[in-house]
Amino acid sequence: MIWAGVLVASAACYGLKLAGLSLPARWLQGVGIQRTVPLLPVALLAALTATQTFSSGQHLVLDARAAALGVALIAVLLRAPFIVVIVVAAATAALLRFL
């Protein structure tokens, strides 16, 4: 099942890239599309951040991941490189669980 999802999603993402290069530009230059599409990553990445920090299955929880996100936020505000943001977040969660 995971394989099917991986392949279908990859095909969809490639199709979107190809569509942008191939379709007549005016089809994708409507005001609605131009306004909505850039907002999608903002909304989805924020929703992903929130749900994967504050939930376990279908339950809302507050655990070491919340502290890890706080540290990640500080790293982002200090303009740390991507890999540093990930490492300090993981290290924070690991340390809190170890204590």
């Binding site: 942008g20 530009a25 999608l40 903002v42 929130a50 749900t51 504050f54 991941r65």
Partner: protein, 214 residues
């Protein structure tokens, strides 16, 4: 210009290490992980798919979210098509490289020939480093007994936050991000994992169309 492309590619290789690690600890095999980087080749979508699978969501919710995150690449394609002027078979190759980094590098140039060069150099280097990083990250963590010990379950939200931050430089996206996070948490207890994301995507689409009408 080639040096800019190389520095972006090396940075993305490090970022791909974390993708490989997160993907295998989310339950994908190393082969599935590497296939995602080779075939999908668009970071935010890949992180979303594996993160949703890792948090207990269905792979189809992950696939839908990955595709929704990939819609921006279609708009990049529109901006690039006049610069690149690719026809025939080359267009099918060029399409695979239509992502954030290559678009940023290509549209920053003054001459079309420089744009084309920047696009292909960045795309090819990034593809090489992205897949190498993924492969190493996947192999290094596929043998871990419990990813929680290393805090790797806290890595996906940090990755999303790092991808989100550069998009929050104005008041509207910041407000949308906060609202989206809140709405996703509010509906989370009532729907299957992954579905809150689709609800948020639907709401933001409605918002985009209504705000246009004003």
């Amino acid at each position: 210009m080639a040096r800019d492309g190389l520095s972006i590619a090396v940075a993305s290789g490090a970022y791909a290490l974390s993708f490989g690690a997160i993907s295998t600890t989310s339950g994908l095999s190393p082969l599935q992980t590497v296939c995602l980087s080779v075939l999908m080749f668009t970071g935010a979508s890949q992180f979303a798919l594996v993160g949703i699978v890792g948090s207990g969501g269905s792979v189809w919710a992950g696939a839908a979210t990955a595709a929704l995150l990939g819609t921006r690449n279609a708009l990049y394609g529109v901006r690039l098509s006049s610069l690149l002027n690719v026809r025939g078979l080359r267009r099918f190759g060029a399409a695979h490289f239509v992502i954030d980094e290559t678009t940023a590098m290509a549209i920053a140039r003054d001459a079309a020939s420089e744009s084309r060069f920047a696009f292909w150099v960045t795309g090819l280097l990034l593809f090489a480093f992205w897949n190498l990083g993924t492969f190493i990250g996947a192999l290094a963590t596929s043998a871990l007994p419990d990813p929680k010990v290393l805090g790797l379950d806290a890595a996906p939200p940090a990755a999303y936050l790092a991808l989100l931050a550069p998009r929050l430089r104005a008041r509207e996206p910041l407000a949308i991000a906060l609202a989206a996070g809140l709405v996703a948490l509010l509906c989370l207890p009532f729907v299957p994992a992954g579905v809150p994301l689709l609800i948020v995507a639907g709401l933001v689409a409605v918002y985009g169309l209504i705000a246009r009408a004003r």
